[in-house]
Symmetry: C2
Subunit: 119 residues, 2 copies
Protein backbone atom coordinates (compact mmCIF):
# COMPACT_ATOMS: atom_id res chain seq x y z
CA UNK A 1 0.00 0.00 0.00
CA UNK A 2 1.57 3.33 -1.01
CA UNK A 3 1.98 6.05 1.58
CA UNK A 4 0.42 9.38 0.68
CA UNK A 5 2.38 12.45 1.68
CA UNK A 6 0.12 15.44 2.41
CA UNK A 7 1.59 18.93 2.15
CA UNK A 8 -0.75 21.14 4.17
CA UNK A 9 0.26 24.45 2.56
CA UNK A 10 -0.27 23.00 -0.91
CA UNK A 11 -3.71 21.77 0.09
CA UNK A 12 -4.60 25.17 1.56
CA UNK A 13 -3.55 26.88 -1.67
CA UNK A 14 -6.25 25.01 -3.60
CA UNK A 15 -9.23 26.89 -2.15
CA UNK A 16 -10.24 30.30 -0.83
CA UNK A 17 -13.48 29.70 1.06
CA UNK A 18 -13.40 30.40 4.77
CA UNK A 19 -15.18 28.20 7.34
CA UNK A 20 -15.28 25.42 4.78
CA UNK A 21 -12.87 22.68 5.90
CA UNK A 22 -11.36 20.38 3.30
CA UNK A 23 -10.62 16.75 4.14
CA UNK A 24 -7.02 15.78 3.40
CA UNK A 25 -7.03 12.33 4.96
CA UNK A 26 -8.47 10.02 7.58
CA UNK A 27 -7.04 8.71 10.82
CA UNK A 28 -9.09 5.93 12.45
CA UNK A 29 -12.64 7.35 12.79
CA UNK A 30 -11.38 10.88 12.33
CA UNK A 31 -11.21 13.28 9.41
CA UNK A 32 -8.04 15.32 9.02
CA UNK A 33 -8.95 18.70 7.61
CA UNK A 34 -7.42 22.02 6.70
CA UNK A 35 -9.51 25.15 7.07
CA UNK A 36 -9.30 28.87 6.50
CA UNK A 37 -10.76 31.25 9.06
CA UNK A 38 -11.42 34.95 8.66
CA UNK A 39 -13.86 36.87 10.82
CA UNK A 40 -16.11 35.15 13.36
CA UNK A 41 -17.56 31.65 13.08
CA UNK A 42 -20.94 30.72 14.60
CA UNK A 43 -21.18 29.53 18.18
CA UNK A 44 -21.68 25.76 18.19
CA UNK A 45 -20.86 22.55 20.01
CA UNK A 46 -20.42 18.89 19.13
CA UNK A 47 -21.82 16.45 21.67
CA UNK A 48 -20.08 13.47 20.11
CA UNK A 49 -16.51 14.63 19.48
CA UNK A 50 -13.72 16.79 20.78
CA UNK A 51 -12.20 19.28 18.33
CA UNK A 52 -8.45 19.47 17.81
CA UNK A 53 -7.35 22.76 16.27
CA UNK A 54 -3.71 23.41 15.33
CA UNK A 55 -2.81 26.79 13.85
CA UNK A 56 -0.63 26.63 10.72
CA UNK A 57 -0.59 30.33 9.77
CA UNK A 58 -1.95 33.58 11.15
CA UNK A 59 -3.52 34.14 14.53
CA UNK A 60 -6.66 32.41 15.71
CA UNK A 61 -8.84 33.02 18.74
CA UNK A 62 -10.75 30.02 20.08
CA UNK A 63 -13.49 31.05 22.46
CA UNK A 64 -15.80 29.25 24.82
CA UNK A 65 -18.49 31.08 26.80
CA UNK A 66 -16.07 31.19 29.75
CA UNK A 67 -12.61 31.41 28.23
CA UNK A 68 -10.58 32.35 25.17
CA UNK A 69 -7.12 31.52 23.90
CA UNK A 70 -5.19 33.15 21.08
CA UNK A 71 -3.09 30.71 19.05
CA UNK A 72 -0.11 31.30 16.80
CA UNK A 73 1.40 28.84 14.32
CA UNK A 74 2.59 25.71 16.13
CA UNK A 75 0.00 26.07 18.89
CA UNK A 76 -3.03 23.86 19.38
CA UNK A 77 -6.05 23.52 21.59
CA UNK A 78 -8.57 20.75 22.20
CA UNK A 79 -12.17 21.88 22.66
CA UNK A 80 -13.88 19.16 24.68
CA UNK A 81 -17.07 17.63 23.37
CA UNK A 82 -20.23 19.46 24.37
CA UNK A 83 -18.50 22.77 25.04
CA UNK A 84 -19.95 25.65 23.05
CA UNK A 85 -17.23 27.44 21.16
CA UNK A 86 -16.36 29.52 18.14
CA UNK A 87 -13.24 30.45 16.25
CA UNK A 88 -12.37 33.90 14.99
CA UNK A 89 -9.46 35.47 13.18
CA UNK A 90 -9.62 39.17 12.41
CA UNK A 91 -6.73 38.98 9.96
CA UNK A 92 -7.20 35.39 8.82
CA UNK A 93 -5.72 32.07 9.88
CA UNK A 94 -5.07 28.60 8.49
CA UNK A 95 -5.71 25.58 10.66
CA UNK A 96 -5.42 21.83 10.86
CA UNK A 97 -8.80 20.69 12.19
CA UNK A 98 -9.38 17.16 13.44
CA UNK A 99 -12.94 15.98 14.12
CA UNK A 100 -14.76 12.67 14.10
CA UNK A 101 -16.09 11.60 10.70
CA UNK A 102 -19.64 12.72 10.06
CA UNK A 103 -19.39 15.76 12.33
CA UNK A 104 -20.86 18.88 10.68
CA UNK A 105 -18.56 21.87 11.08
CA UNK A 106 -21.39 23.91 12.59
CA UNK A 107 -22.22 21.22 15.17
CA UNK A 108 -25.62 21.89 16.73
CA UNK A 109 -25.87 25.50 15.53
CA UNK A 110 -28.83 26.66 13.50
CA UNK A 111 -26.61 27.24 10.49
CA UNK A 112 -25.95 25.46 7.22
CA UNK A 113 -22.91 23.19 7.60
CA UNK A 114 -20.17 23.27 5.00
CA UNK A 115 -20.19 20.30 2.63
CA UNK A 116 -17.65 17.54 3.27
CA UNK A 117 -15.10 17.92 0.47
CA UNK A 118 -12.03 15.74 0.03
CA UNK A 119 -9.06 17.33 -1.69
Amino acid sequence: MPLEKVNLAEKLATFDEVFSPRIVGYYNDTKIQVAKVKGDFVWHSHSETDDLILVLAGRLVVETREDAVELEPGELVVVPRGVEHRTRAADGAHTLLVERRGTPNTGDADAEPAPEIEI
Copy 2:
Protein backbone atom coordinates in the same frame (compact mmCIF):
# COMPACT_ATOMS: atom_id res chain seq x y z
CA MET B 1 -13.79 24.73 31.74
CA PRO B 2 -10.56 26.54 30.81
CA LEU B 3 -9.00 25.95 27.41
CA GLU B 4 -5.38 24.85 27.49
CA LYS B 5 -3.16 26.28 24.77
CA VAL B 6 -0.33 23.91 23.82
CA ASN B 7 2.78 25.37 22.20
CA LEU B 8 4.47 22.45 20.47
CA ALA B 9 7.95 23.99 20.24
CA GLU B 10 7.91 24.80 23.95
CA LYS B 11 6.90 21.23 24.75
CA LEU B 12 9.66 19.86 22.52
CA ALA B 13 12.22 22.05 24.28
CA THR B 14 11.56 20.28 27.58
CA PHE B 15 13.22 16.96 26.66
CA ASP B 16 16.05 15.54 24.59
CA GLU B 17 15.27 11.82 24.35
CA VAL B 18 14.62 10.48 20.86
CA PHE B 19 11.94 7.87 20.09
CA SER B 20 10.27 8.74 23.39
CA PRO B 21 7.02 10.55 22.62
CA ARG B 22 5.57 12.95 25.19
CA ILE B 23 1.82 13.31 25.58
CA VAL B 24 0.67 16.94 25.34
CA GLY B 25 -3.07 16.33 25.29
CA TYR B 26 -5.93 14.02 24.41
CA TYR B 27 -8.49 14.11 21.63
CA ASN B 28 -11.34 11.60 21.99
CA ASP B 29 -9.65 8.19 22.39
CA THR B 30 -6.39 9.53 21.01
CA LYS B 31 -3.17 10.78 22.57
CA ILE B 32 -1.58 13.88 21.03
CA GLN B 33 2.16 13.55 21.29
CA VAL B 34 5.34 15.32 20.30
CA ALA B 35 8.40 13.23 19.52
CA LYS B 36 12.03 13.63 18.53
CA VAL B 37 13.54 11.31 15.94
CA LYS B 38 17.21 10.85 15.13
CA GLY B 39 18.57 7.80 13.41
CA ASP B 40 16.41 4.75 12.64
CA PHE B 41 13.46 3.51 14.70
CA VAL B 42 12.54 -0.18 14.93
CA TRP B 43 10.22 -1.76 12.38
CA HIS B 44 6.80 -2.22 13.98
CA SER B 45 3.07 -2.14 13.33
CA HIS B 46 -0.07 -1.42 15.32
CA SER B 47 -3.02 -3.68 14.54
CA GLU B 48 -5.49 -1.46 16.40
CA THR B 49 -4.70 2.07 15.27
CA ASP B 50 -3.54 4.18 12.36
CA ASP B 51 -0.59 6.50 13.00
CA LEU B 52 -0.77 10.17 12.06
CA ILE B 53 2.67 11.77 11.77
CA LEU B 54 3.09 15.50 11.06
CA VAL B 55 6.61 16.88 10.75
CA LEU B 56 7.25 20.07 12.73
CA ALA B 57 10.99 20.49 12.15
CA GLY B 58 13.73 18.70 10.21
CA ARG B 59 13.27 15.97 7.63
CA LEU B 60 11.71 12.61 8.37
CA VAL B 61 11.51 9.46 6.30
CA VAL B 62 8.54 7.19 6.94
CA GLU B 63 9.05 3.74 5.45
CA THR B 64 6.89 0.72 4.92
CA ARG B 65 8.26 -2.52 3.46
CA GLU B 66 6.99 -1.37 0.05
CA ASP B 67 7.24 2.40 0.07
CA ALA B 68 8.89 5.43 1.65
CA VAL B 69 8.08 9.12 1.85
CA GLU B 70 10.30 11.97 2.98
CA LEU B 71 8.48 14.66 4.90
CA GLU B 72 9.37 18.28 5.57
CA PRO B 73 7.75 20.60 8.10
CA GLY B 74 4.06 21.04 7.32
CA GLU B 75 3.78 17.60 5.73
CA LEU B 76 1.99 14.60 7.20
CA VAL B 77 1.33 10.97 6.47
CA VAL B 78 -1.09 8.41 7.86
CA VAL B 79 0.30 4.91 8.30
CA PRO B 80 -2.68 2.55 8.17
CA ARG B 81 -3.19 0.08 11.01
CA GLY B 82 -1.40 -3.21 10.53
CA VAL B 83 1.18 -1.85 8.11
CA GLU B 84 4.74 -2.47 9.25
CA HIS B 85 6.68 0.78 9.26
CA ARG B 86 9.54 2.71 10.75
CA THR B 87 10.64 6.32 10.95
CA ARG B 88 14.15 7.60 10.44
CA ALA B 89 15.84 10.97 10.36
CA ALA B 90 19.55 11.11 9.69
CA ASP B 91 19.82 14.72 10.86
CA GLY B 92 16.96 14.69 13.34
CA ALA B 93 13.30 15.69 13.16
CA HIS B 94 10.49 16.81 15.45
CA THR B 95 7.02 15.39 14.95
CA LEU B 96 3.43 15.59 16.09
CA LEU B 97 2.38 11.97 16.55
CA VAL B 98 -1.23 10.95 17.02
CA GLU B 99 -2.06 7.41 18.12
CA ARG B 100 -4.88 5.73 20.02
CA ARG B 101 -4.49 5.77 23.79
CA GLY B 102 -2.74 2.73 25.15
CA THR B 103 -0.73 2.11 21.99
CA PRO B 104 2.94 1.37 22.74
CA ASN B 105 5.24 3.34 20.45
CA THR B 106 6.99 0.15 19.39
CA GLY B 107 3.72 -1.59 18.47
CA ASP B 108 4.28 -5.32 18.07
CA ALA B 109 8.07 -5.08 17.83
CA ASP B 110 10.29 -7.06 20.16
CA ALA B 111 11.56 -3.87 21.74
CA GLU B 112 10.96 -2.03 24.99
CA PRO B 113 8.29 0.63 24.45
CA ALA B 114 8.89 4.15 25.70
CA PRO B 115 6.97 5.00 28.88
CA GLU B 116 3.84 7.14 28.49
CA ILE B 117 4.81 10.55 29.85
CA GLU B 118 2.51 13.56 29.98
CA ILE B 119 4.16 16.96 29.83
